[in-house]
Symmetry: C2
Subunit: 338 residues, 2 copies
DNA sequence: TTGTAAGCGTTATCAA
DNA sequence: TTGATAACGCTTACAA
């Protein structure tokens, strides 16, 4: 009669404890309205049998899964090694530390229809979702909105912003203060290496760069497209040097790209900051370890994502959450590259 | 009567399609033994209602969840930005691409009892688990073994190896060929920067280094402990230079540590490879972008994890999988640092 | 090929 | 405080 291959059920716990299934259930879930004796008996039975509640059965009736998703675009090298994603994971993880919620990481593979992810999200596997660093063509936004699943975006979405809850750093302002720093340092030929233009962070930081230059009456034609990664930054720097050999400063929209730019500048015999000043963006570990250390803009990813998670938990709990962006202020971090 | 707030159920689909619930179920799950007409009617109903099966209900009866876990030690900066984890994710993701299985990333937080993770794994949320880069004190090994959940380890576990399925690269051999390369290049004072000694990869690579040096009759006393990360590698290099100023080569047990070492060497005015030759380990993107590019050892993480995932899927399917390690051969990659 | 009916393991309602 | 009992939404023999 001993079949240890099957996991123990609530019924067996109840039987072992000598109480009814309902009492056992109550004892296990907080122990409200259950006598000390019954509680003790159930606790003992649980320990003895090594009982673990079956989540499927539980969530079938409670309609909760006690896990939330972090949706990330594609599982490629660039995304996965970007400190932004690392920060996002740490933020979620930190926000979930107190609770007994689990984090589920979902990759929205670019080669598959977005509705695969949406189907997964809708099928009741998670109570809510945090969507990070999505691209324009994703249109996860409408799909999620339509699904009515509690969701919070990290980074301003392209569309439907009126109905979506999101957190973000003020990327325009970030680009502006980064560039202003270069202007203040007396630089006059200031280039930029942009982020992907299908992400709002890429677009906004470029806008900030432009604003600062216009305000200073400087030219805004030295632009090279990057992809937030090191190699892309290096390639962009090569192009900039070829097309604008007179440049005396560069604002790179990510520290990784700035790192690539530094290498290229060094290889071309341009000293930093002597010949060319460089400002990056993110300050997520990379900036401090380049040489020279980068002057950069603080991107408070961990705090942002922590906030996003807290918001999501509120939504999941059914609380009313005002639908307005939570915008974090960027802050200039001084390094030795300006 | 229209309550769009509740998700449509199989019953509604069946009703709309004019068939029984079982026929609807069959049509949705592969369509075996269902007439073309019924199939068409069900398909239409599904589309019209936007039906998604409730996973909890389904897995309650099938006892499958169609998702597998990737268990990673702690969500700290070091782990998250390590290309190893990125490679692992890509490997799992690639292996899962054909299937409709989902990847669930789980962090085994170090400050919490390991049985939290085990409880989660046991509670029926996933069909199996891949455990990557675990530490000695984790004792996830016994816990998982006891839980009878299908599991495959990436990286040789410390204990119970007889009963565990795992994949790994031959780290001893990797450390050996890396060091042999330095010996062959005529280096005689060869130091090493080790990985964490609570991980088998760290221990084994050090063993390989020692083997090569002993075989060559060289001293094995220039050892500095690192942590696989850049900063740790840099600190270790500083110590090595202080204690063994005569060293002419370094084997770093990871490319990230090698990168840190390169910086320190440069800062101390030691040329690479002129004064000091350097060999790293991993070749997961970092090696190619340092200057000089690193000579390193290929760590086939993506393939390894892909294999691990395939094994796991076999286990989950109930196939008999021989319990023996799958060991991948390391390969020396030539850079310009030797 | 189709439908009936019996669960899967929980939680929640309600009377005792 | 406790214990029957009825869901929750689905799959799957089994019978038709």
């Amino acid at each position: 009669m001993s079949t240890p291959s099957t996991a123990p059920t609530l019924d067996e716990v109840a039987q072992t404890a000598g109480v009814s299934r309902s009492t056992a259930s109550r004892a296990i879930n907080g122990g409200l309205r259950v006598s000390p004796e019954a509680q003790a008996a159930v606790d003992a039975a649980v320990a003895q049998l090594g009982y673990t509640p079956n989540r499927a059965a539980r969530s079938l009736v409670t309609r909760r899964t006690d896990s939330i998703a972090l949706v990330v675009p594609e599982p490629d090298e660039r995304i996965l090694t970007d400190p932004f994603l690392a920060g996002a994971m740490r933020g979620v993880s930190a926000a979930l530390a107190g609770t007994d919620l689990q984090l589920v990481l979902l990759f929205a593979r670019p080669d598959e229809p977005v509705n695969r992810i949406v189907r997964y999200l809708r099928s009741g596997h998670v109570d809510g979702a945090i969507v990070a660093s999505h691209h324009r063509e994703d249109d996860l936004e409408e799909a999620l909105l339509a699904s009515r699943l509690p969701a919070v975006f990290v980074g301003r979405p392209f569309a439907s912003t009126a109905d979506l809850v999101y957190v973000d750093v003020d990327n325009v302002e970030g680009g502006r203060i980064a560039t202003q720093r270069l202007v203040d340092a007396g630089r006059r030929r200031i280039a930029t290496i942009t982020g992907p233009q299908d992400m709002t962070a890429g677009v906004d930081r470029l806008t900030g760069w432009r604003q600062a230059l216009r305000a200073a009456g400087l030219a805004t034609d030295a632009v090279a497209a990057g992809d937030f990664a090191v190699a892309g930054g290096a390639a962009a720097m090569e192009r900039l040097l070829a097309e604008h050999p007179d440049l005396d400063a560069v604002f790179a929209a990510s520290d990784l790209m700035a790192e690539g730019a530094l290498r290229v500048l060094t290889a071309h015999g341009r000293s930093v900051p002597g010949d060319v000043a460089v400002v990056g963006f993110d300050n997520l570990g990379v900036a401090a370890s380049t040489s020279p250390a980068l002057t950069t803009v603080q991107n408070p990813v961990v705090e942002m994502v922590k906030t996003a998670t807290d918001l999501l938990l509120d939504l999941v709990a059914g609380h009313v959450v005002p639908v307005r962006p939570r915008i974090f202020a960027p802050r200039l971090i001084d390094g030795a590259s300006v």
